[in-house]
Symmetry: C2
Subunit: 464 residues, 2 copies
């Protein structure tokens, strides 16, 4: 007899009413008297568990089952009964219960509140808890919603390389990759290390962004996106930074900054709607236990028209606000989280794109505006979090790009292929980066990036 | 006036008949007389180009346009005219042509046959060619089909870590990740390198497989899959091996080897059908120019019931075949590509799962069969390629796993979290790995893995 997964039971309940069924699952709780007992059984396919009622009268191994510990795996055959007047919508009246796998008595995930820190130490078991079951199902759904959004719009998914031979991405500190003998690396005559003998014949690192490579594909396919891991070797221990995280970087040819913001807005709304539709139980849980205003905030966002304001106007608004900030606001500063949150939460009370930042605080590849002072950048700020997306129109003009690189001391030769894009049909194009973990934190109300990554990598931490 | 993408024109042709439209794109060819000319324009959204007819009589800048080189980007406004009697289904009669971006005369991708080796050297431009436009669109569609298949079956997508602190995956040579000063690393009193000062506080490498971590999630969610980059630091220069490639690793709890094969078969068929449906022009191209039997072979595969044979039976069949192999066949050997291809192409003439391999030639985590000699492994062989999937039921019995690890000299302590899975509700489970590049090569007929990776990484090669 083929077993039925709990997701099916919860989604197509009526279909199985009063039928004999078989389910598998792990014990979440087991309580009872000497005549009957109740097991909350969960098979991982659904956020909620099914209640199994077992009675000494109907099963042969009542004694054994009454002692089954939390985390043990069972196979249960029984009658599926709707219970419209009870707390749970249905239960299974067991006729046969088989222990498929026992569990040791020192199982660390007992039915009590554990600290987030403790749960990180058992990252191999925490997805079995309610909170992390919800977090990681939503991580999966968000990822899929992103693919679905871009694929439905005929974007080409491109796998930009993880190993990079250029340290010219300029987005942060990088990790070296090597197969040289660390203890005694080969050296050249002048005693410096001979990287020509390294695996790739030169120094290589882990990528910090796929954008430059994505641009090559955008100028072939028009609409492309990346979705892959990126790395920062920064020794910063904050709740918002990890050394390994996933990023999505769409890039579109024949598009300007305004098209870029339209795309980002449509994507964010699509993701949120998808998750609200496909994980109502999980979202309800987060709204109840993590962040009481979550569902209201997300629904408001889906229905809002995102605001747009230039950096220069935003600085004026912040100065006029009369609000005392820890970091004073002046034209030219990089906006801090306190400024970003004030803009989106207090001034606009909805998501806002800030555009046209001073060129000095932005990357070399962003398109110079006619004022010669600002670049066509756009950051999306959302209530409760601050910056969630950073993007720009790219500098497509060879001479302007070259001049900016000269100013910054970047060598054109290191970027020969990137410069080529400006020589051969280099039309206007634009793109942005979305940190996957940022949007998951936003959607779940989880406060620490370590709790939305399956096995987080941070300074001094690479367990599992 | 909003422009229309070529994909839309080709898919919804009738809708635009006799209308004035605007398109953007890059020039593929430009030929003409002194009165009129023809431009093949492609915007990257579709495999085929649109023909633009421009006449001195109707556009102001005829002289300029007549000289526009290959790869330049244009904006064209004109009338969209169906041409049912011509080679191409429609054309645009230009009224206004604007050069959006010029192209230098040394553009290396001219309308002639280039060698694959040359095209690898211009990996930033090759997606603009027919072959690579088709390859990388199919790569995108295959990736999406995989997500779609698993998500429609309610699998949870899990991002297993890229940085790994354990070198216990045992699937191959690994790359070291470090931020230590290679020239002068910190040392301990005994002069060995002090990795406690490295970024993660210990030695770390790039992952070779996410399977062990995926098992932790399968024992929480029941049905999970990974999809991410994996790495091999092997110095092998073959057409089938890359140092960085993408892998998909589903893992299912309450599943045995037979369930595993059912899943793999359903997935392969789903992927192929999805690509045949969504990229008919590209598949037609490959069938015509790369591999004449391609479409027939793929259609046959979708309709075939995959065969299943044990390793022991397969060895007998190969020995009885009378065929002279380069590597002689004996029970106990690892099957070579020549053996695999003979089995699937000559004996079965369709895909075949070979199961239950000698434990000595398979990984430590595969479930020991009752014969104590073989393990519950399954490799899927397909005509034209050989092995495309490798999988197994996992050893869920603590004592049996421990004994096997002892035999192989693996230390249980290094695998504490993996062993925990066997202590707390460790039911039977199974999974497999699919190399993304393998299935793309199979689908396109491309013969070298370097030509299905956007920016391939191989020994001595990490350009771009």
């Amino acid at each position: 007899m083929k077993d039925i997964q709990l997701r099916t039971l919860f989604r197509e309940t009526e279909k199985y009413a009063d039928q004999e069924i078989v389910v598998h699952g792990w014990v979440r709780t087991n309580r009872g008297s000497n005549k009957f007992g109740f097991i909350e059984l969960n098979d991982g396919t659904f956020f909620k568990s099914v209640q199994v009622v077992y009675e000494a009268e109907f099963i042969d191994n009542f004694e054994e089952i009454a002692k089954v510990p939390v985390a043990a795996a069972l196979k249960v055959k029984g009658d599926f009964v709707l219970t419209p007047n009870a707390k749970q919508p249905f239960e299974i009246k067991a006729k046969e219960v088989v222990v498929e796998a026992d569990s040791a008595s020192d199982y660390p995930l007992q039915k009590k509140r554990h600290s987030m820190e403790f749960l990180r130490e058992i990252a191999h078991l925490r997805p079995r808890s309610n909170t992390f079951s919800a977090v990681f199902r939503i991580r999966s759904l968000v990822s899929y919603a992103i693919h679905k959004f871009f694929q439905e719009n005929d974007f080409v998914y491109v796998h930009t390389p993880i190993v990079t031979g250029s340290d010219c991405e300029g987005a942060g500190e990088m990790f070296r990759i090597t197969t040289l003998d660390m203890d005694n690396p080969p050296r050249m005559e002048n005693d410096s290390i001979d990287y020509s003998q390294d695996f790739f014949g030169k120094e290589t690192s882990l990528t910090v962004s796929g954008q430059l490579e994505a641009e090559t594909f955008a100028l072939a396919f028009r609409n492309v996106y990346t979705f892959g891991p990126t790395f920062r070797a920064e020794n910063s221990n904050t709740a918002r930074h990890a050394s390994e995280f996933w990023m999505i970087e769409p890039e579109v040819a024949f598009a300007d900054l305004s098209d870029n913001m339209d795309l980002a807005e449509a994507m964010i709304k699509y993701i949120i709607q998808y998750v609200l539709e496909h994980a109502p139980e999980e979202m309800e849980f987060f709204n109840k236990f993590m962040d009481k205003g979550l569902l209201d905030r997300l629904t408001a966002l889906v229905n809002a028209e995102f605001a747009r304001v230039t950096y220069t106007e935003a600085v004026e608004l912040l100065k006029k606000s009369g609000k005392k900030f820890e970091y004073p606001v002046e034209w030219g500063i990089d906006l801090q989280t306190e400024h970003e949150r004030y803009l989106t939460e207090e001034i606009y009370k909805k998501p806002v794109f800030v555009t046209d930042y001073p060129k000095e605080i932005k990357a070399f590849y962003m398109r110079l505006n006619d004022d010669n002072k600002t670049v066509a950048a756009c950051d999306l700020l959302v209530p409760g979090v601050g910056e969630i997306i950073g993007g720009s129109q790219r500098e497509e003009r060879y001479d302007v790009l070259k001049a900016r690189m000269d100013e910054l001391g970047l060598d054109e030769k290191d970027y020969w292929w990137y410069m080529d894009l400006r020589r051969y049909g280099g039309v206007k194009h634009a793109g942005y980066g979305l940190g996957l973990e940022r949007i998951i934190m936003y959607l779940t109300g989880m406060g620490n990036i370590r709790d939305v990554l399956p096995f987080p990598r941070t300074p001094k931490t690479a367990e599992f």
